[in-house]
Each structure stands twice: as C-alpha cells, then as structure tokens.
C-alpha cells in the first residue's frame, strides 16, 4: 500500500513542486494509496480514526448517561492482532481527546484477552502477554481470561456437547474437548464461539453495557461467508450486525433474577468501515508505531507453508480468498457486510423451546429451517440420545459432530 517512500529532505508542502498532491487536502505530497486515491499520511490517519470515532459515537448515543448510570462501561476483546490493537489505540485517543478538552472520559474500558494457549500446550506462566499493553495504555484495565473459563459458563449448554472427563483439571478438560473434535475446521469454529462467550460473560460480570470487537470490514466479510459455509446463514444478522444480545441467553439455565440473570449487551464493531490492509498501514503510522504490540504471526495471520491443506479451517480458506479480493476489489469487500446488515434477526419459532437458543452459539434455534431441511433431504427424526440432550443449531451440530 505504501506507494512511494516518504520525502526525506525538507518538506516541500505548500510549494508548487508537489508531484502527487494528496487527493483530500491538496497541500501535501501523497505518500499512500487509499481506495484508489493518493493521500498524505495525515489525511489517511484522519480517515481511519474518523471511521472508528463515528461508530464509537453511535454507540455512545445508544447508552445515554443518566444520574443513576453515570458512566458507560465497555469491554474490548483484544486478540493482540492488528485490528483489536488498532481499536485499543483509537479508544485511548478518544478518551485523551475528551480529557484534553477538560471533559469527563466518555467511558470506562476493560480490555479482555482470552488466553487459549492451553490448547496449544504453549502455556508460559512467567510470560505476561499483556505487559506491553499495560505500559502503553495505563488508563485502561487489562485482564487475561482463560478459554477454560468456558467450561463454567451458563451461556453454553454443556449437556448438548460431547462429554469430557469431569475429573480433569479445567485446562486439561478444555484441551481434551478440543482434541476430540472432528476436524481443524471444527476446532477453529468452536474456539471462536467460546472466545465470544468468554468475552460476553466478562462483559456481563463487569456490568458493562457494550462489548467492542475489532473486526475490520474485511473480517466481517470473511465471517459472513465463513458462517454461510458452516450452515449458519440464519445466524448472520446476530453475528455480523451491531446490536444487542441477551447474555446469558434466556432459558440457558440463567435465573430470571439475581446475579446470573440475562442482560442485554450491545456488541459493536467500530472498525467495520475500515479494510484490513488499511489497519495494517495505520498500525505503522501511529506515534510510536503499534507494530511491536501485534502478536507474532498475527500480521499475516497464517503461514500458508506450514499448514497441511486438509488441516485448514474454513476461516483460513476465507482469509486467503479475501486477501485476493481485498487487494483487487476493496469495494466488493466493503459491500458484503453492508448487505448482511440488511438481513433481519428472526426468532426461530413461537414456543419457548425455540427461543431458548442454540446450546453453543446462543442464537435462536431455527425450527422452521430445520423442519424444512429435514423434509427436503428426507432426514428422519433424531435417535433417542439426540432427543434428550440439549439442542444445537444446524451449524453447531455440524461442528461438534462432523
């Protein structure tokens, strides 16, 4: 994306010698290409942060502060990848901007990192992956939460999932659960769902009104097609679009009152209008650059050479596909998430059982779709074991049982 190296000598801005003026300000030399336009560094930075600020502003309006509810409390899911790191930086700027104008901070932020290293056997107790983040963003609270916490969450109906030896320690239990899954595609899928659960549960326990996720427009497009390929077309509006979800989902074992009562949490994607490659560039332009913060390997996300072609996940196939599409057709990528935005969230059926939702992803069960599909394909009703256990949606059933 970096087209020409930044001018080295004294700035030539303002003179008539601009060889490639920035298409936005017209006064600076363009050093970057943004959506087919030459732009200068300052305008590019403004462009990206403007997109994020607009979304953060929309979210702020959703949560009016009142006398009883004086502060907005947000949770940010940090993967240590490019997008969530950039979002963290932009949220910090947003707070600094308000404080600089002698206003109150617009929100309290807790940053949650979901640690899944126990699944890879690379647990390093001495190493705190969040230390550099704490140092750079001292204003915010950082927490690392283990993916094994998913085992105790009310939002997940473990009776619907393959059983694991209850005598094991949590991290061993979650490891054995994952290693028993049918494929790499299943593992990647369920890891994503559990991560989301842990984040939502953290937001719930912190009494936060919103969970912020770093997905770029490219990531949302990938997610749209990935979920479609996993048979979760019905869930797309719940997953891709900004909006409220009840957590823990109604009927998921949560009581109607008290601590574990379900509460609405707004899930927002403030970077939904920025392309992944734009965030990769942005990351290098902040002062100082965010590059060293991004976890090893997260910049290119996947090393194509090391993975056997059959052990790819659906997400990885989509990642590769969209890397090509984003390069050549950025507007097509941007249009995918907008299109999904037009789909409506449906409740699958009238009765309470359907409203209860899938035991794993939590999206309402699509009774009508299930019935229709069984009819079309001539699938007979499930066996006795299937009837007694908790219910999963079509896509989650596929991921857990192949």
């Amino acid at each position: 994306m970096e087209s020409t190296p930044p001018p080295t000598g004294p700035a030539v801005a303002g003179s008539l010698t601009l060889t490639r003026p920035c298409a936005k300000c017209r006064t600076q030399e363009a050093t970057l290409d943004s959506r087919s336009q030459p732009v200068c560094r300052a305008c590019f930075v403004k462009f990206i942060s403007g997109k994020a600020m607009k979304q953060i502003g929309i979210l702020g309006k959703e949560i009016p502060t009142t006398r009883t509810n004086a502060t907005r409390r947000y949770v940010l899911g940090l993967s240590r990848g490019v997008s969530s790191t950039v979002l963290l930086h932009l949220l910090n700027e947003n707070v600094e901007f308000a404080l600089g104008k002698a206003r109150a901070a617009p929100f309290d932020l807790t940053v949650i990192y979901v640690d899944s290293s126990c699944l890879y056997g690379s647990k390093n107790a001495d190493h705190d992956p969040l230390a550099p983040f704490r140092a750079r963003f001292p204003r915010f609270t950082f927490r690392s939460v283990s993916i094994a916490d998913a085992l105790g969450l009310l939002g997940i109906d473990w009776s619907a999932l393959p059983s694991v030896d209850p005598t094991l320690l949590p991290e061993q239990r979650i490891w054995s659960f994952f290693s028993a899954l049918p494929s790499a595609a299943s593992r990647a899928d369920i890891l994503r769902l559990f991560t989301r659960h842990v984040l939502l549960a953290s937001a719930r326990s912190l009494d936060a009104q919103a969970l912020l996720l770093g997905h770029s427009t490219t990531a949302l497009a990938e997610l749209t097609l990935s979920e479609t390929a996993k048979g979760r077309g019905f869930s797309l509006p719940w997953v891709i679009n900004d909006g409220g979800v009840e957590y823990p989902p109604a009927g998921s074992g949560s009581s109607t009152e008290g601590e574990d009562r379900g509460r609405k949490i707004l899930v927002y994607h403030p970077l939904r209008d920025a392309l992944r490659k734009e965030l990769s560039v942005y990351m290098t332009l902040t002062e100082p650059p965010l590059t060293p913060f991004v976890a090893e390997g997260a910049v290119t996300a996947l090393d194509s050479a090391v993975v056997s072609h059959k052990d790819l996940s659906i997400e990885e196939v989509m990642f590769r596909y969209f890397a090509e599409v984003e390069e050549s057709y950025p507007s097509v990528v941007a249009n995918v998430a907008r299109t999904t935005g037009k789909l409506v969230r449906l409740l699958g059926g009238e009765d309470a059982e359907r409203k209860r939702g899938c035991g794993m992803c939590g999206v309402p069960l699509d009774g009508e779709g299930d019935e229709r599909w069984r009819g079309e394909l001539g699938i007979r009703g499930g066996d006795e074991e299937e009837k007694t256990r908790g219910k999963l949606c079509y896509g989650c059933e596929r991921s857990t049982r192949g």
């Binding site: 959506r35 087919s36 997109k51 607009k54 494929s183 790499a184 595609a185 749209t224 097609l225 979920e227 479609t228 390929a229 996993k230 048979g231 979760r232 077309g233 019905f234 797309l236 509006p237 209008d273 072609h309 059959k310 790819l312 996940s313 659906i314 196939v317 596909y321 090509e324 599409v325 050549s328 057709y329 950025p330 507007s331 097509v332 941007a334 249009n335 995918v336 907008r338 299109t339 999904t340 935005g341 037009k342 789909l343 409506v344 969230r345 449906l346 699509d366 009508e368 779709g369 019935e371 229709r372 599909w373 009819g375 079309e376 394909l377 001539g378 079509y394 896509g395 596929r398 192949g402």
Partner: protein, 402 residues
C-alpha cells in the same frame, strides 16, 4: 489397510465416500441412494404431475446427462407418468457443440427420448461465432448466457412444453449463494435457492431436481453407471477458475465436504431473512412447490453450469460501480439509504446485463413480470435482455462487415 465394507449392504467393498455425511458405500448402494434422494426431492417439492410433458435441458455434459438418466430411471421405477424430451441448444460455436451434440444424439437413442435442437441462428439470427467476430471474446459469455436462457424457453414453447428441468447441482446453487452475497444482491440470493423458478403467469417453468446433489456424486454416478457424457471447456471462456467463487467452493469442500450443502442450507434460510420476504411455508407440506419469479435470473452463466467461473470481469465492474457510489454519497451513508438498486443497474449495464434494475423492495416479494415489447417473451423490462443485446449487435454488424 483392509478395504472398508459398504455401510448399507455390509457385504460389498466400499468405493465411494459421500461428501455430505462421510458414509462409505459400495457402487450398487451408492447408485440406489443417489436415485432415492433425487426421488425424494422430486416428491417432497411436488415437482411434476402425472402426464406432464417435461423438457430436459441437455448439453451433453455430466449434469444434464445424469439428470436425463436419473429421470428416465425414476419415471419408470415410480410411475411418474412423465413424457420426457431432450432439448438442446446449439450456440453455433464450431468445434465446441459439434461433439457435445453428438453426445446428446447418442443419449437420445440410449434413453429413448425425442431430441429437439434449437440454434441461436434460428432464434436470434446470430451464432456465437458471429457474436465473437463482432464484439470480441471479452464479455461474450454474457451474450451466450442471456441467449441460452431464452433459447430453452423458446425451444420448449415450440414443442408445446411448459416445464424445463436443468442439471443445476448443489455446487451451482452454493456458488450462486456466495456470488450473490459478494454482489450484495439479496433478492436474487433469495430466489437462487428455490427449486422451481418461473411464476404462474410465465409460460414455461424451470426446475432443478439435482439441487441437492453434489457435483462430485454426479460425476461418480456417471462414472459408475458408465454414462456417455462429454466434457470440454468452452473455447471462448479459456479463463481458468483461479480466485473465482467456484474455486472457493471446491476448497471449502476439501476442508469440510459438507460445506457445499451447508451453504445451500444457509442460502435457503437467508432467503427468509430478506426484509419484505413473505414467511415461506414449508414447501414439503404443500403438494406443489411455489414457483419463484426468476425470469432472467442469471444463475445460468456463460456455460451451462459454469456461472461465476470467470468472475474477474464481473468483480471488477461490481467494484468500480460500488466505489463510484461511495464517492457520490460518502461512505458513511446509512445502510438503509444505500441506493443499491442503482448500483446494480449500472453494474449490469456495464458488464453483465443480467437482470437490470429491480426495486429492491418490490423485488423481494416477487417481481412483476411482463412481456418484452419486441419478442413477447417474459421480462421485467419493456425490452428483454436478449433484445437489448441484439439491438447492440445489429447496430455493429454493418461496421464489422465493411
């Protein structure tokens, strides 16, 4: 390793591993279950009525050859009482159709079905060879696809037949779902998954009995039944499938074989999430599948079942138009105000003049079909696409011929 035995008969050696459920089957049991499933699709959606005259769109390729073979078998086995006819289109491409038409002629003898061949020259006054001579190779697949769509209808009408079945398989439907997500075309997405297209007022309805059949199983069925089919790339679309939605589908299939049917399922479910969509009743309950308006639906691409296999040009045009819209309206427009209809219109006019400008609102609930003022065939425009393309061609003819 010891050869696996068939999961059904438990006696013969398994030769097939089914993509949809990993079942290992012997040749005989595979052929039986493949036919049984198509039979189920036909009966559960009430596709035919006794005594109905049905034209099989026959290209000599694997899909239509398998369709003809299976329909003949099922018609005899289950007493459908159908009067089956092979209907073939001759695009007028020297060296391409010659061999495949020979295949269709042999099929007509093998399956004891009458054959009707309709040429582009007699329908439109142009062979594809002449079209390419006039406009060049770029974009000629569009002409071919638009002409073919009407050609089948016109051919059927000539024969006094009101129902054309085509060999579209699950891979084709899945590809259309993904392409329409990339295009942002929700109305077409919701139509493309429907098994019957063409509405009550149209003279010819179309259906795809192999909608749930994997392309892989179609090829295996043809192989194990030793069917006589012909395969070639159209000489005017030599572009490989790299980066296309087709290639994406095949990669997903390798990672998780069920993904193709899972995409079909997603597409069917998403059709119910399109705003303004009538809540569809379960089709398997009604006696007859409700046909969905799909004139000029465009899911028949350049070659009989190769929609989207050369999306380079189309993606580029989509991208360009979307980008222009962004510039006009600013990226930060409200999703609901997106003038996607206009986008679609312009995109199509520029590159792929398939289905021009339908108001999204009215299109979702079913289009208003009229007839073309020139040729009298069903169209949602005053002038149908074929006539629009012909007008352009005829204007160019004198120039070229000088």
């Amino acid at each position: 390793m010891a050869p696996a035995l068939c999961a059904i008969c438990k006696t013969a050696r398994a030769l097939i591993k089914r993509p949809k459920n990993h079942a290992k089957l012997c040749k005989g049991c595979f052929i039986t279950i493949f036919e049984d499933e198509v039979h189920h699709t036909i009966t559960s959606s009430g596709l035919f009525f006794p005594g109905e005259k049905v034209a099989i769109g026959a290209s000599g390729g694997k899909d239509s050859t398998v369709l003809a073979s299976v329909l003949k078998t099922l018609n005899e086995r289950h007493g459908y009482g159908l009067d089956l006819v092979l209907l073939s289109i001759d695009e007028g491409i020297k060296g391409y159709r010659d061999d495949s038409l020979e295949t269709v002629k042999r099929n007509a003898v093998q399956y004891e079905m009458p054959l009707k061949v309709v040429g582009y020259d007699e329908l439109y006054g142009w062979t594809m060879d002449q079209v390419v001579e006039t406009i060049g190779k770029k974009g000629n697949c569009t002409y071919c696809g638009v002409f073919r769509r009407q050609a089948l209808d016109r051919g059927a009408k000539m024969l006094g037949i009101k129902h054309v079945v085509t060999g579209h398989n699950a891979d084709d439907v899945a590809e259309t779902v993904l392409m329409n997500l990339l295009r942002g075309d929700l109305p077409r997405l919701s139509r493309s998954t429907s098994i019957v297209t063409g509405n009550n007022s149209s003279e010819v309805k179309r259906s795809k009995p192999l909608k749930y059949s994997y392309e892989k199983e179609i090829v295996l069925y043809a192989h194990h039944k030793k069917l006589d089919y012909f395969s070639t790339e159209c000489i005017y679309s030599p572009e490989a499938f790299r980066g296309s939605a087709r290639s994406l589908i095949k990669q997903l299939e390798r990672v998780r074989p069920s993904a193709i049917l899972d995409i079909v399922r997603s597409g069917e479910d998403m059709a119910r999430l399109v705003p303004g969509q009538k809540a569809s009743s379960c089709e398997c309950k009604g006696k007859t599948a409700a046909p969905v308006a799909a004139e000029e639906e465009g899911d028949i691409g350049g070659c009989s079942s190769t929609n989207g296999r050369s999306p380079g040009g189309e993606m580029a045009a989509m991208d360009k138009q979307l980008r222009e819209n962004e510039e006009h309206e600013g990226l930060e427009i409200d999703v609901t105000k997106l003038k996607l209809n206009e986008a679609r219109k312009d995109v199509k006019e520029e590159s792929v003049p398939i289905r021009v400008a339908n108001g999204a609102e009215k299109a979702t609930g079913g289009q208003v079909l009229g007839t073309c003022k020139r040729c009298g065939y069903m169209s949602s425009q005053e002038i149908c696409q074929a006539c629009t393309l012909l007008e352009g061609l005829n204007k160019n003819r004198p120039k070229i011929q000088i």
